[in-house]
Symmetry: none
Subunit: 276 residues, 2 copies
């Protein structure tokens, strides 16, 4: 059972001629980076000629060099996306149970999500939400609409004109007529991406509305229209994708917006209290 290219190599390295073996060893030595460079660089690093490199990858079963590189990239992508698998080391002793994989994956997702999300970005988005002159609309897809509701429930308390768009497509589509350049739409869309949301986003974009998109790492097509994109990791060992990372980003944003609106928001909250 051979799953990775490095295994494939060490499996066949015994049956290779001298030159190709040097290529193999060079590649293994700092895997897989040498394989991602050009044939010329690879050959120079291994101290052999270019054709030897090509014969080497051919012997591994690849039709040509680009195909070999694609395979390496795919492998690397799989590795990078599940940092859990690479930290299988001693880490986190104690808890290793049936739920653990799910929790661990979720925690990793969050770390990864925030690793790609700078403070500055978050501050920018918060400023967009806090500083908008017009209205804020929130909407989500089949599974993510609750996230939109959650965020709306909080934002609506600290500032006016925050609306969650619910119900049938025709209903919120018609509300496009009220939207303009001073407004912001927050959209949640993970796969499978919803056609209706894409249409909505496009129309909103045409009207000059600023779009903040929460999506997964494969990016909803809405990213095309969005001013700000938040890409969260969603992969977990389950039949479903996880929205937990996006949820945490949403909470973080809520906190940031609240802080920015502190002055105005505090007064508003007091006013609300007195209404009860």
């Amino acid at each position: 059972m051979i799953s990775s290219i490095s295994e494939l190599i060490s499996d066949r390295i015994g049956a290779m001629p001298a030159g190709e073996r040097r290529a193999a060893q060079t590649l293994i030595a700092n895997y897989p980076l040498t394989g991602l460079k050009t044939v010329a660089e690879f050959s120079a690093a291994a101290g052999v000629s270019s054709p030897t490199i090509l014969r080497f990858v051919a012997r591994l079963g690849f039709q040509n060099y680009p195909e070999f590189q694609s395979a390496l990239q795919d492998e690397l992508a799989a590795q990078l996306q599940s940092p859990a698998s690479r930290t299988l080391n001693p880490a986190s002793p104690g808890s290793s149970s049936a739920v653990s994989p799910m929790l661990e994956a979720t925690l990793d997702n969050m770390r990864e999500t925030f690793r790609h999300l700078s403070d500055k970005q978050l501050a920018d988005i918060a400023a967009t939400l806090a500083g908008r002159r017009g209205k804020t609309f929130l909407i989500g897809g089949r599974f993510t609409d609750p996230l939109a509701r959650y965020m709306a429930a909080h934002l609506a308390i600290i500032q006016p004109d925050v609306y969650h768009l619910a119900g049938q497509e025709s209903i919120w589509r018609d509300r496009l007529i009220d939207m303009g350049k001073r407004d912001v739409v927050v959209i949640f869309d993970i796969r499978r991406y919803q056609e209706s949301l894409v249409r909505f986003a496009e129309k909103a974009h045409q009207r000059g509305v600023q779009i903040v998109l929460f999506t997964d790492q494969w990016l909803s097509p809405i990213a095309r229209f969005a001013r700000h994109v938040i890409a969260g990791r969603t992969a977990v060992p389950s039949a479903w994708d996880s929205s937990a990372a996006l949820f945490v980003v949403a909470e973080t944003l809520i906190g940031a917006v609240t802080r920015q609106l502190e002055a105005a928001g505090a007064k508003r909250i007091r006013d609300l209290e007195s209404l009860r």
Copy 2:
């Protein structure tokens, strides 16, 4: 202090034109792999033209595309060689960023929440949800109702008779009449605990309905009536409480129920697919 290319990007992404920003977001979304592919592939992934990609890397300060790729590769090499260094955010010490503390607190909350939640408990609850003979109702409070919706959206797919209770109190109060011993009610309630939910829970309990309660560590008064109680940590350095831990528990439960219903659930999902 900018050390990595991803930081460089998120630092300047605000000052980029739309097309280049799309390129940046696509690259960040699954960093750094997209940047190692060819310009054509990169541009296709981002949905822009090749020159835009080149202008993008030029704006980052690179003389040409190969130089940009080399930089990415060097970075990747450093990462791959010292797996220890992939621990999150060793940099950005202190830094008024207010984001890290938020994330850290959230992650801690989750660990703590699950530490007090045994596998057996979760399995029991999942069995309750998967094995109920009657109907499942879900409801939440002001900020937690989205969690109820999220869970309902998933459960309703793998089993019949799952209902989210929404709208005014009178509406779901009246539905108590349909509930009996074979039914399950999932309630989300964190402080400040809502009177209306407590009343509802009490009535449901009197009718013999099994109650699964999601609450915070101080326990909603509903705990008194509940068959199962999940106490999640909610404290974060923010003006608001965090429901993220409860969200993750909900997702875990959804996964567990799905697994228990695998046979029946899979068929149901296929049937649903064919309805579209």
